[in-house]
Amino acid sequence: MTDDGFTADEERVLRTLLDDILPPSDDGRLPGAGTIGLAAHIVRTVRKTPMLRPVVEYGLGALADLAAKRSPGGWPALSKQERSAVLEDFTATDQFFLPAFLFLLYSGYYQHPRVVEALGLEARAPHPKGFAMEADDWTVLEPVRKRGKTYRDPS
């Protein structure tokens, strides 16, 4: 990774990795993570949270190396099943990359307007519009009121 973004090798791994981890939903409502420009989100977030950078760099590099052992063409030459096998092999022995990467991925994916709208929500910040809530029916408190005082009086 450079300060400007991912290297060409990392980009190659990243493009398919995003869709492998978060593919489109079966009904097509939710897009695959590789199709909504999350690489830029990941770069931005890593820039703001520098401690994530070595984990992401190491993980993408390790996946590329493992892929190269399977095929001379490396990661881009692997089938989806082969990529999944590489990813599962790697994450079985490395406890840091996947949680960090999923944090980056989920935090970008689930705030993306296409995804938020597909979930049935308005694609907007909570403030300043907020959310309307219906008036409550406080008769639900009657059983509690009927019990009377429950606190202990030390005097």
Partner: protein, 535 residues
Amino acid sequence: MSETTADVLIIGAGASGAAVAWSLADTRMNVVCLEQGDWIDPADLPGSSPDWESRMVGDFGFSPNTRGRREDYPVNDGESPIAVSMFNAVGGSTILYAAHFPRFHPSDFRVRTLDGVAADWPIDYARLEPFYAINARMMGVSGLAGDPAYPPKEVPLPPVPLGKLGTTLAKGFNRLGWHWWPSDSAIATREYEGRAPCINAGTCLTGCPQGAKASTDVTYWPPALRHGVTLKTRCRVREITVGEDGMADGVIYYDGEGVERRQKAEVIVIACNGIGTPRLLLNSRSAQFPDGLANRSGLVGKNLMFHPYAMVTGIFEEPLEGYKGPTGCCIMSQEFYETDPSRDFVRGYSFEILRGFGPVYTALWGMQSAGLPWGPAHHRGFADLFDRAAGMVVISEDLPDPANSVTLDPDLKDADGIPSPKINYRLSENSTRMLAHAVARGREVLEVSGARKTFVESPLRLAGWHLMGTCRMGTDPRTSVVNEWGRSHDVKNLFIVDGSIFVTAAAVNPTNTIQALALYIADTMKKKLANLFDD
């Protein structure tokens, strides 16, 4: 070097420092407050931005260790099962708190007498009650009068909405015949003292851009400043200095540019809470106080109490609209609050029903705690969780243990080179048994409310919000750091007004009691001004 001498110097502009500043302002004394953080511009709060949820684990995260702000100081909590949470700014941790605002119970001040554990407080509920009432008006507390778990109390504003989620859980509590009540919340539910009403945005834990939540930057500070209090931000106090007479005479601090400065003062009030206050006192060593200022009892930093939390989350069939409404405030149950000899633990706990999660947090929580898979099965798993989760936290009473402590880390320092605190803490057997009981009861009420599965996190690690007991109050200088009105036994012009002076922790959020105590201490100081330093 500052040439002026403050009549009263307050260190820390959070929950308690703001309350004391406001109370002392009417004396027309020269009151100065030094705060290591800065004002938070509401426009900078995450709630107005689409990435607000992910910033909850970024620049507005709970932990000073991961947030990376200059004004934070790192805390070595690696040996504690509970990690320290705090925020440093004008308003302190009230910027990020849930604003859940219960009072202590009358019994909480008499645990030795009633249950034979820990120690009684040197004051009682009746002593604090008028200050709880003032605080309710100043902070703008919403709720519903008539809670049978408390003596009668005034609640100035109507309660926060139950919503579908709260109503669902309330009916579950009713089915079991258990106590519940709408939470007392420091949230303006209608326009109040210039504050806009809550719009149910659900961003409370990243700050309230609406200004409805009662952080002290929008409650106590504006009138305190209008009445002449001086607030200096980005000023981090390194140590309190003492004169030859053994009285505190000022502080040495670093300004925002890291330049060392001095502020002289006649009276010093520490308001840095349960970690920051012992840290400051232990960093204030001198020939007269070689073990740290005001520490002749040896109790500065001892008896650290958190509230051990557990989180029990139920997954329901129907959408609960849980992303709407104040995040941490909905309903509270105190069915298991008091000691019951039939149980295998002493004292008790509260249940606090939270709201649900937004999309980002659903995915992150699901990944960490609910087995949400990645890959082709992800979307089905996510749909199973999103807007179907109702969270409940258990807040259990921690009892004081001298082995649980705040000391100075030999290596760790903040950006100004000031030694940082180290936490030594273990969960007691009593807390472990209490949490197990609470988790079982939590599952029971969620299931009877309709949850089809539940998930448990116990103890909850990132829940060290409530920092208490490290400079306890009492009448005996051998067993306490400050007296019954917050004055140091050892240094007669030094006061502590924050959670560090708690004798016990109760089983509710402490901010309301911290502020009531601060107001009570300030009021006592005013009444004793003519003989403030006398024995």
